[in-house]
């Protein structure tokens, strides 16, 4: 099972804890993880990426295995440690304290 860590606000919105476990069929990519996440938790639709273009929202970041994968292709395969469930796929709200949204 893939492990996905959600930011606190989305944990509350989806009614889950910090980590959710997902089954992903086929290659494990950002897209396949987000597809599975949104299918399991429809309340998250539109909160991480645009509903139509599937483009990542500007203030959302994706980390795994101590790497920032935000700018990687959504169809690039993620590290084997993520695919095997050994390491989580981290969804992070960008640090923006003190900005207009702070």
């Amino acid at each position: 099972m893939i492990q996905v860590v959600l930011p606190k606000n989305l944990q509350i919105l989806a009614g889950v804890g910090r980590i959710v476990e997902l089954h992903v069929s086929g290659p494990v990519t950002q897209r396949s993880i987000l597809d599975a996440l949104e299918e399991s938790y429809p309340a998250l639709l539109g909160t991480l990426r645009d509903r139509n273009t599937k483009k990542r929202r500007a203030m959302i970041r994706f980390f795994a295995c101590e790497e920032d994968l935000s700018a990687e292709s959504p169809d690039a395969e993620l590290p084997q440690e993520v695919a095997s469930g050994k390491e989580p796929f981290l969804i992070i709200g960008a640090i923006a304290g003190g900005w207009v949204y702070g």
Binding site: N9, R51, Y101
Partner: protein
């Protein structure tokens, strides 16, 4: 026994304040949706247990929440707000064309008769409707595709549709207000719209009395007189007695006629409330004094209401959706401030008490009168 439920949206969550009809002792529940901006919370007039909340965030976008038990529990409804057809451009701050982009829901207006039917006013300005309790949304494109729309320009808060008024005697008749485009009126339940800004003057435009482009901050009506509308414009307090065909200024003796809120006493259709704000560069009250101004003559002649409000060292703002009135007698008046206070008057404004003082900055205040 009657009671009231005050619905407060803040910069960091929603709060529900309840009291019996005396409006003296309050129970405060929240924050709901902690950490999210709650631009508006409003209950259905047709089913007081049905509430809607607009929840948004710069990180995570727009969520629409729904409650079936008066705000005790909530569920995420639909958040798919798609403009219909090809979106063009509106005018940006510098006068250049700018693409239309959905940002958030500013205002929720439930139908007066059907708890499943709601309207949403959004940024960038457009009107959406849901017929299934917020699960799905469809734009009512007659407004955004109005021939004047390419000239609409944002105010400081964005190009927002922030006010929706439904004529209680004729639900096909609606008024909306956009900053900064002005008032539009529909006679066919939102299918088509006409500008309704005759009499407004705004010196921030090259043509001061142009058909559109006015930064209208808020409009309000009394249910018994749907042809009389009151307006707080960016500057100027205005009144119409012909269903927004024309407007005249009623600022009278106000210390400043800049402000955001305006509302009408539920029992006295000529009693109007505003909160003057120093200016558009000083978004706080004048002279360190928080004063509600009341006119009992439908405008022009205003009196300062200060009993129970801070009269020194106060520098708060009151935003456009942050004042409301209940349906009791005497009328209860409520408003929230950028300092996190929610004030209530149970005697039509003669005296005030803070229900709560230390919430996050208040974005909206609505009240339900419970029988």
């Amino acid at each position: 026994m009657s009671g009231v439920r005050v619905l407060v949206g803040t910069r960091k969550g929603a709060f529900v304040l309840t009291s019996d009809g005396s409006r003296k002792s309050w129970r405060i529940e929240g924050p709901h949706f902690a950490g999210w901006e709650i631009y508006h919370v409003k209950g259905s007039p047709a089913d007081p247990k049905r509430l809607y909340a607009s929840q948004s965030s710069g990180w995570f976008g727009q969520v629409l929440q729904r409650s079936n038990d008066g705000g005790k529990t909530w569920e995420a409804a639909g958040n798919d707000f798609q403009y219909e057809g090809t979106t063009g451009t509106h005018t940006w701050y510098d006068g250049s064309p700018h693409p239309w982009e959905f940002k958030r829901v500013w205002h929720i207006e439930p139908s007066l008769s059907d708890p499943e039917m709601i309207y949403a006013g959004v940024e960038d300005a457009a009107l959406f409707a849901s017929r299934d309790g917020g699960s799905t949304w469809a734009e009512m494109p007659g407004l955004r595709t109005h021939e004047t729309a390419p000239s609409w320009a944002p105010g400081a808060g964005g190009l927002c549709l922030h006010t929706i008024v439904i004529d209680p005697t004729n639900p096909d008749r609606m008024f909306i207000a956009i900053s900064a485009a002005g008032v539009f009126r529909s006679e066919d339940a939102g299918k088509s719209w006409q500008p309704a800004n005759r009499g407004l003057r705004s010196n921030t435009m090259p043509d001061e009395d142009a058909e559109v482009g006015h930064c209208v901050h808020r409009i309000a009506i009394h249910p018994s007189r749907p042809n009389t509308l009151f307006m707080q414009k960016h500057w100027d307090v205005m009144r119409s007695d012909d269903g927004a065909e024309s407007w005249r200024e009623i600022s009278g003796n106000l210390p400043t006629d800049f402000g955001f809120v305006i509302d009408v006493n539920s029992n006295e259709p000529d009693t109007v409330y505003v909160v003057p704000i120093t200016s558009d560069s000083h978004h706080f009250v004048s002279e360190g004094k928080l004063r509600v101004y009341r006119s009992k003559t439908g405008g022009d002649d205003w009196e300062a209401l200060t009993n129970g409000l801070p009269q020194k060292d106060c520098y708060v703002n009151v935003l456009r959706d942050a004042m409301t009135v209940d349906q009791l007698d005497p009328c209860g008046v409520y408003f929230g401030t950028s300092g996190g206070q929610v004030y209530a008057s149970a005697d039509g404004g003669d005296s005030w008490d803070a229900i709560v003082r230390d919430l996050p900055p208040v974005l909206s205040v609505e009240v339900q009168t419970l029988k």
